[in-house]
Symmetry: C2
Amino acid sequence: MKTFLDCVPCFLKQALGAARMASDDPEAHARVLRTVARAVAEMGMDETPPSMGQVIHRVVREATGVEDPYREVKDHFNALALSMYERLKSMVAESDDPFGTAVRLAVAGNIIDFGVRSDIDEESLERSISESLGWPLEDGALDALRRAVDSADDILYVGDNAGEIVFDRVLIEEMDTDRVTFVVRGAPIINDVTMRDAVEVGMTDIVAVVDNGSDAPGTILSDCSQEFRERFLRADLIIAKGQGNYETLSQAPGRIFFVLKVKCPVIARDIGCEVGAVIVWEREIG
Amino acid sequence: MKTFLDCVPCFLKQALGAARMASDDPEAHARVLRTVARAVAEMGMDETPPSMGQVIHRVVREATGVEDPYREVKDHFNALALSMYERLKSMVAESDDPFGTAVRLAVAGNIIDFGVRSDIDEESLERSISESLGWPLEDGALDALRRAVDSADDILYVGDNAGEIVFDRVLIEEMDTDRVTFVVRGAPIINDVTMRDAVEVGMTDIVAVVDNGSDAPGTILSDCSQEFRERFLRADLIIAKGQGNYETLSQAPGRIFFVLKVKCPVIARDIGCEVGAVIVWEREIG
């Protein structure tokens, strides 16, 4: 997905939020904002929004000297989601449609996205769960994903955020874990999932986990490691979680299901849905 | 009031809204955004937000060739408010406190501010009226303004927006009109009130109307005409409507009452109130 003009004010809002997360120094916040304003003035609109996200958060790291401003946020949400793990497992086990419920929970966890808002808390997460369980999905969407998962030999599950990864684990445990590889970002970026989070929540105990070699808040294949690109092309099914992966993989090769909660009006317009929508969607290759 | 970092993303949002109001050409929108992004990267944060507003809307006019992008909006809201005029007059006449009700209605009209949002409609205006009539004002605020108006010989009523000016007229008609001068902006800026609006709604028939010689969305005295500055200093009471006048006159000399609806979180924090608050406040000179 290309960048829309409406993304531009939001980039500055994100930059300010991240600068405040990284530092208490108003001078550093101003420096970040000015640098990002100059960068957006020059940016190409054909790039995806996560390309600019990558630039923004590099500026934040450089201006504040903080390598991983969201580390506390990530630890907090990993712990919070882990404390919910048994309850999530019961919800799946007791459901008439365990796989479908696990997919809906995985989408619910996608609310934990500090790229969009920085006021996510336990209450928003609980609300996201009940909304997601009741959301009217497109006819056959869950069945299509179920069939794709059942028939695939090599599933690449591209994660999105810390905390959310526990919800992903619950869904992956409904699959044949021998056939699943979980993907994390190559370096800290916003509250996106990294190898440390995969270890923290036990994902590494149940499936293979690989990092993509990139510090973008999405999956910009040209920015990923050669090794990851090859791994991506080898998979026969890709499950891409969240907005950042949607924005960066909507034109990528391969069989891709996008599984996300829509949190921004630009993506809602691109998909043709409302903000808040629960999306389980197999991208048709045009 | 100085500019806060939180204003910066909002400047770009305003620029995009204004560019879209002025032109259907996406190239022009992008040009405006890039130019404004460069300008905010260089701006001094000690200036007031309307200083940047002035820059933004000059960029919009230059990039689109449209001198008065909000002309239709202004005509629409002047006509809408005029169609409500008799009803507003009855509300005042039938009230136990006609002056107080007129003040509350004048604040209600301040919702018609396209600097903050561009989705104001008749419904938002009606909602603003009922909220404003019921808002718990600070004890004695209306009495203080009433006493100030009764004892002043030379009242400068600094208007804010088109449409809203009809609500201002209803309030001014509760004063001795011989002692009131209404102030409009010196040139089109957003949907701020200009001489043309004062004529359209009959304000020029009831009081003296002067323009301030400036195209800022507020009253930046140093940017106003020499004549207006002298006029301002001569007044013994200033009633300053709306956010833009609050932002630019909060440090100005003279006896000033700020009368506004708070529409942005930065101003709410500066005043110490919530977004949506109805403010009738005599600024104490420190």
